[in-house]
């Protein structure tokens, strides 16, 4: 009796690990993907913190935590006093401020790594849904990364906007049945292949968060609007009836979803003002002097990237047998136009471009793969099933572990030595200048390059105030014009410093060569500190304002 009962137990005990092993087995094709993503994590974690606006965001966050309110004007720029602030990134800044206070620079670096990694992971998932093949999804993700390369390496609230954008792309793909390769394969190209509850709940929640994290939520609204307009055009084109447009379920859905998203964005500390500010932001005249707000030039890096993907676009349309939807055309035209006008749109264009190209990449890629597989199998008798092995899973785990162990975050967790400052911060961060200023605090206003001013506010002596910062839009036009003239060392640069009652000048030796030579040659200023990056000069005769 006992024997008969023991046998099945033994059998089940023996099979449990093997079943588990089987369930945890993976095909070998997963190894390069997991390894790539693990390596990507390590790479991101090694990117030093940039020296520009992140420190302004952190300083804003710290200010909010200290004052328990949102700033109504810039707390660090006396010349911008009275310019109202609609802080479109208040939630991100609050998070950064808190993070920096509990974990310092390494914590910021880790959040940057995780956010960006998650963004690309979500893209990969969305592109996998579109293509049904992991290698095509990885190609799509790589294309997104390549096109937006210039904008991904700086930690700023925009990274949260990027994550929201990737999530929106995933929601769109997940919600729209005809986008999904899986749905196509199941011949479920109808209206209601799946319930779009994810959209009805997910989109308002997403936009609520997005609107409070970063001003780029307008980009998301445009994506949704393009879907509503694109679907409308599609129905109008195929049915030739306005009545059918009004009856189309997806026209109604996308329209209501756009409105729902718009409504969700109004839940923020500024209400409608946030929308108005987000629309008007790009019109600020000061931005004309900032590289990322320039028009697209084909000779620049972004122009070359744009040229390459446009050639790819033409090639894919030539060889793809997929239909081109009006929504995709609308998205591509709107975002390409936006990028032509303002080059910083390239980060968003990257996601949209891949979303629109993925069906064609899938079509062409799948055919190429099928042809390649067929050629390899010629002569072999039978189809070899793709083997799944537990050892492949272990290799994946090992890759993840190795990547984590050698990353700065992993080294800290595993008790290794923390990175030296020179590795945590970008090499052009003026660490020496702020150290000197902390020991010798300037008495009045400091003129510093805008790209260093935020760092000075964060790492300099308490209460240090600069002429402008990376909050360029908050500088009154004349202050900004004056700042630019001084930065270029133009005539009357010293008169402008007098006008602002500036007591100390910080000069970037590489980017402000003319100003550097003017300050050195001036009888009114003397250099009191210098290192490889820049120098500090103060007035020879201290002037008092009042």
């Amino acid at each position: 009796m006992s024997t008969s009962t023991e046998l099945p137990e033994l059998t089940s005990m023996a099979t449990a690990p093997s079943m588990l092993r089987e369930r945890l087995s993976a095909p070998w094709t997963v190894i390069p993907v997991v390894t790539a993503f693990a390596a990507f994590f390590t790479y991101l974690n090694y990117i030093p913190l940039f020296y520009t606006d992140i420190w302004g965001h952190v300083a804003y966050g710290k200010w909010m935590l200290e004052h328990h309110r949102l700033p109504t004007e810039d707390p660090f720029l006396p010349l911008s006093a009275g310019v109202p602030v609609v802080d479109t990134s208040w939630l991100s800044q609050l998070f950064f401020g808190w993070l920096a206070s509990v974990g310092g620079a390494e914590a910021l670096s880790l959040v940057f790594t995780i956010t960006l990694w998650c963004s690309y992971f979500v893209y990969t998932r969305a592109f996998y849904l579109l293509s049904g093949r992991i290698w095509l999804a990885v190609i799509g993700t790589f294309m997104t990364w390549f096109l937006g390369f210039g904008r991904h390496s700086i930690i700023r609230p925009e990274i949260f906007g990027g994550l929201c954008f990737a999530t929106l792309i995933w929601m769109v793909v997940h919600g729209e049945p005809w986008r999904s390769r899986a749905a196509k394969l199941a011949s479920a190209e109808g209206d209601d292949a799946r319930s779009p509850w994810l959209l009805w709940i997910g989109i308002p929640v997403l936009f609520l968060a997005w609107a409070n994290l970063h001003g780029s939520f307008m980009i998301g609204l445009i994506v949704l609007g393009c879907h509503a307009a694109g679907r409308t055009l599609q129905v109008l084109w195929t049915q030739r009836s306005l009545w059918e447009v009004l009856r189309d379920r997806w026209v109604i859905r996308w329209t209501l979803l756009t409105e729902l998203a718009l409504g969700a964005t109004l839940i923020n500390p500024y209400g409608v003002d946030l929308l108005i500010e987000s629309v008007l932001f790009g019109r600020n005249e000061n931005l004309k002097d900032i590289l990322e707000w320039y028009n697209l030039k084909l000779v620049d890096a972004e122009g070359i990237q744009f040229g390459i993907v446009t050639l790819l676009w033409i090639g894919l349309y030539r060889f793809s047998r997929q239909r081109v939807s009006p929504t995709d055309i609308l998205l591509l035209v709107v975002f390409a136009t936006g990028m032509a006008l303002v080059v910083r749109i390239i980060g968003w264009y990257a996601g949209v471009f891949t979303l629109c190209m993925m069906p064609h990449i899938t079509d062409v890629g799948a055919r190429l793969q099928d042809r390649w597989v067929a050629r390899r199998r010629r002569g072999t008798e039978s189809e070899r099933p793709q083997s799944r092995r537990f050892v492949y899973t272990l290799v994946c785990v090992l890759a993840v572990w190795c990547a984590f162990a050698i990353s700065p975050a992993g080294r800290q967790v595993l008790g290794g030595q923390p990175r030296p400052s020179a590795s945590v911060y970008n090499e052009r961060t003026p660490l020496g200048i702020t150290e000197f200023l902390r020991e010798n605090p300037p008495r009045g206003l400091v003129y510093a390059p805008q790209w260093w001013s935020d760092w000075l506010s964060w790492d300099g002596p308490p209460g240090i105030r600069t002429v402008v910062s990376t909050n360029i839009h908050l500088a009154p036009t004349r202050v900004w014009d004056g700042y630019m003239r001084v930065s270029k060392g133009e005539t009357y640069w010293d008169n402008l410093l007098d006008r602002w009652a500036v007591q100390a000048v910080v000069v970037d030796k590489e980017k402000q060569k003319k100003l550097a030579s003017e300050v050195r040659g001036s009888a009114a200023w003397k250099v009191i500190y210098e290192d490889d990056l820049g120098f500090i000069a103060t007035r020879r005769t201290a002037t008092t304002s009042g």
Partner: protein, 411 residues
Amino acid sequence: MSWTRRGKWHRLLLFVASQVIILGGVVWATTVRWEDRQAARSVPPLRERAFKLTPLHDCPWMVTEEQLEASLRKVYPRFRGPEPKMNYVDHAFRIWGPDAQFDDPEALSGAEMRDLLLNHVAFAKVWPNNPPFLLKTKTGPTIRYKEGRETASHIDHSLASISETGIPRDYPVRTSEEDTTFGELMQTSLRNFSLDEMEYEWSSLAYALFLPPVKSWYTTEGQELNWDRIADRLMREAPDQGVCFSQHRHHALVAVLRVHDELGPLLSPAGRKRVVAYLTAVSSLLVQSQHERGFWDDHWYAGKPPATTHADEALSGDTLTNRLVATGHTMEWLALAPEEILPPRENLTRAAQWIVRTLEQFDVEQIKGQYAFASHAADALALWRKTTPTEFMKSRLQKRQETPVSSTDNR
């Protein structure tokens, strides 16, 4: 079947109605908010008439009536004829005002000066071949400046000078292209003003005299202005910075303080304290830096009297001009300042007597060369007698008419 169709109709109607409500609501809310923002950013209203700063102190020992008359006669606006320098007309009008009449045919009356400044037809008669003094621009009617003898010397200088005479807001102005009002000129200035303007002293003065006690307003750069901010701007730069050795900054600060004290709060309590502390510090520096002969020069902030050199005896040249500029302007704003700010009377008397002696030694032609500076100095003397140049000369001329006169008297 019919129920289903009716249901579809209902859904459709519901969708269309919801769109009307949602889109209408969004458009309405955005429009209302936008209009609120625009209204908040519109230029502030103006007083019906500019506030006129009246003199506060009568110190007969500083300057006698005879000395005052002699000094004022030196600064008669003898600009009749073609191509008068508009900067001088400007300066003359601010001290003499619109009611001035002179016993000198070469001198323009107050009304004539006002016409030259505010009526293009009168201006074109004396400057027929030059671009107009009053212009129409994209932002509104305005006054040309820093473009030659036929223009004002500084941005908003004419606006401030004319405001100092207490002109009404609706006073008619004729530009080369349209008929407008003085209020419109002010509004153009308000629209164009920036706190980071290179010269802001006259704009601040004009606004102090013309704006009712508004809490704040916005510049077109989107910066919210209030009087604390403007006062801080006036006090921001080092003492050696600013036109006429920065004395116009002090003049504007005194105007802000006076309007605050007499017409209603412009400054916050802390702001007023800062202004008084600043002007008191200036006053203290003036005491320390005054030359024993009574004048100040371009180093009035040095905290020690100017060294006496051979050049002290000079009656012309930059040294004398600098002294006239510094002493004349200083004495003028001090005459308008409240008692709490003033230096001791002894210092003021020495300065007044230096002005009297200096103007005495200038002949009319020399005065013409530096009319602007001399006008401030002569005006200061009148203000320290708690009168204005026009009021004083009117009474002197009347007295003379009442007493038997010789046949050589002016007619």
